[in-house]
Amino acid sequence: MKKKLLIVEDEKNLCVLYKEELTKEGYKVTAVMDADAALELVKKHKFDLIITDIRMPVKNGIDLITQIMALRKDIPIIINTAYQSYKHDFMTWAADAYVVKSASLDELKSKIKELVG
């Protein structure tokens, strides 16, 4: 069975890129552009991994993580952001991995493999 990934990313082009690239790696990928849509999906479906940005309009990724943890404690989460500085934010420690966005997706791909196989 293919592992199911949920991507939360407010940049449309990045959503497209991540979805294509991770599908190629053999995952079943769902991508949404805001935290509330992600939360609705988490309530209804079972995901094996969530990859989220932090700075997003309306609700940020840190609030999203807090709410997901209240719903499903066991889902691994990867933070994927352009900002290195959030690493110092206590709440980002709740995530399983912190990957700074890079022009190469290798690090993200290897962290996903590490967490869900």
Binding site: E11, N13, L14, L17, Y83, Q84, S102
Partner: protein
């Protein structure tokens, strides 16, 4: 009954002692926006300003690491020179300020041979150098040298330069830090240095130490602020560039994959091109922000400026169901500012108002007199308002509530308004709306203040 007195004294009662006048001058110089060297010059001038109190000549060394470097040497180079200087200084009506001016001119002129000689000299403070003059600084003690020619502890070259038998070395310290040294003598009058002179000089040494220390701290703070601002800037630019770079990198990689079909290749190229344009836009906004350079304020016609910004905003108003109105108080024609930057700044404020009105509403642009010298341009919207927590920060660089915002818009507005000698304020209530008020000096058409 009350009596009021000026905190800064320019004239003294005849019975005021020379010492009191002397310290008053030094204390007052603390309040002048002088440079470090100027402030030290005040102290050395006070120490050498003619008969009555003090010495004939004063020499200043400043410490830099483990070196004591000669900075300047104040006083007459010869008896004839002294005669002419002191004659000038004793002219009735000449005060300390004039004397300081005189000394400053002296230091910057090529003629001051004393300073010229001293500038070349430097002593090591390494391993508590026991030779005078470095010894006073190393040991942090005042040293009075008598019979200098026969004193083995006086450095020979220094003795040949100063050429007097008696001189006084005052170390300059603050918070245990070694900062420099002042050397005083009576080369012209040959008067012996007395206990009272030493006391006076020691107090001056404390003042001077403090001056140098404060100046050093100030320099450090400025440097720290500069580094912090630069760090913030670098972080910000890194973040701004990262998203487009990730997109470009990812889609370019796909292009290199031979399995990518023609249709997808074309799509990828379009995405890459649009992200490159975004990068360009980011750089353009950054340079625009960094290069604000307003040298001259000119009278700018308010009606004209309003017309331009309203025309530019018209399409957005129509599509966004926003009513845009303007009102200019009769008789108020021009404000003094930079027309290009001010137009851009106003456009930024109006853009923000539009952003606050995603579901439509009203924007009112108004110009009115505050008093006979100042006018206000206000931009009022009926939008969602600014959250209280953000109100303090909205003019800071790199603060934005918008995901794609760079946090430069309002920072730019504030920089422009400040540079034009105006001020900006904001009133906002959540759910009701926001009003930005830009205050400027008013002027007349064709006038230039």
């Amino acid at each position: 009954m009350i009596e009021r007195h000026n905190l800064f004294l320019h004239e003294f009662a005849p019975e005021t002692s020379k010492e009191l006048q002397f310290f008053s001058i030094i204390a007052q110089s603390f309040f002048q926006p002088f440079s470090l060297i100027d402030n030290l010059l005040v102290i050395l001038t006070a120490l050498t300003a003619g008969p009555g109190v003090g010495f004939n000549r004063a020499m200043l060394f400043l410490a830099n690491g483990d070196k004591l470097n000669g900075e300047f040497w104040l006083g007459p180079a010869s008896a004839a020179d002294a005669d002419s200087i002191w004659r000038v200084l004793s002219t009735p009506g000449i005060g300390y300020l004039e004397i300081i001016e005189h000394n400053r001119a002296l230091l910057t002129s090529d003629a001051n041979s004393l300073t010229k000689r001293l500038k070349k000299i430097s002593y090591s403070l390494y391993q508590d150098n026991p030779l005078i003059p470095a010894a006073a600084t190393s040991s942090q003690e005042i040293i009075l040298v008598k019979d200098a020619w026969n004193e083995p502890l006086v450095e020979r070259r220094f003795q040949e330069m100063i050429g007097v038998d008696e001189f006084l070395c005052i170390p300059l310290l603050a918070q245990k830090e070694v900062l420099g040294e002042i050397i005083l003598d009576n080369a012209i009058t040959r008067l012996p240095i007395q206990r009272r002179d030493i006391e006076l000089a020691s107090i001056c040494g404390l003042f001077a130490g403090n001056y140098i220390y404060t100046a050093k701290l100030q320099k450090r703070i400025v440097e720290m602020k500069r580094v912090a601002a630069m760090g913030e800037m670098v972080m910000f630019v890194t973040h701004q560039l990262r998203n487009p770079l990730v997109t470009i990198g990812g889609f370019a990689d796909q292009l290199l994959d031979p399995k990518t079909g023609e249709k997808k290749q074309k799509r990828n190229l379009h995405i890459i091109r649009s992200e490159i344009r975004r990068l360009e836009k980011i750089l353009l906004r950054l340079t625009q922000f960094l290069l604000i350079d307003i040298k001259e304020k000119v009278p700018v016609d308010i009606q004209e400026m309003f017309k331009l910004v309203v025309n530019a905003a018209r399409p957005r108003a129509t599509s966004g169901k926003v009513t845009l109105t303007t009102e200019v108080e009769p008789g108020l024609n021009v404000i003094l500012c930079d027309p290009i930057h001010m137009g851009e700044a106003l456009r930024n404020v109006i853009d923000n108002a539009f952003d606050a009105l995603p579901d439509g509403g009203k924007i009112h642009l108004r110009a009115y007199r505050e008093n006979d010298q100042w006018g206000v341009i206000s931009v009022q919207d009926t939008g969602k308002g600014i959250p209280k927590s953000l109100k303090e920060k909205i003019f800071d660089t790199f603060v934005s509530t918008k995901e794609k915002g760079m946090g430069l818009g309002l920072a730019y507005v504030k920089r422009v308004v400040d540079a034009c000698g105006g001020r900006i304020e904001v009133e906002s209530e959540e759910g009701k709306g926001t009003t930005f008020k830009l205050h400027f000096k008013t002027g007349e058409r064709g006038s230039q203040k």
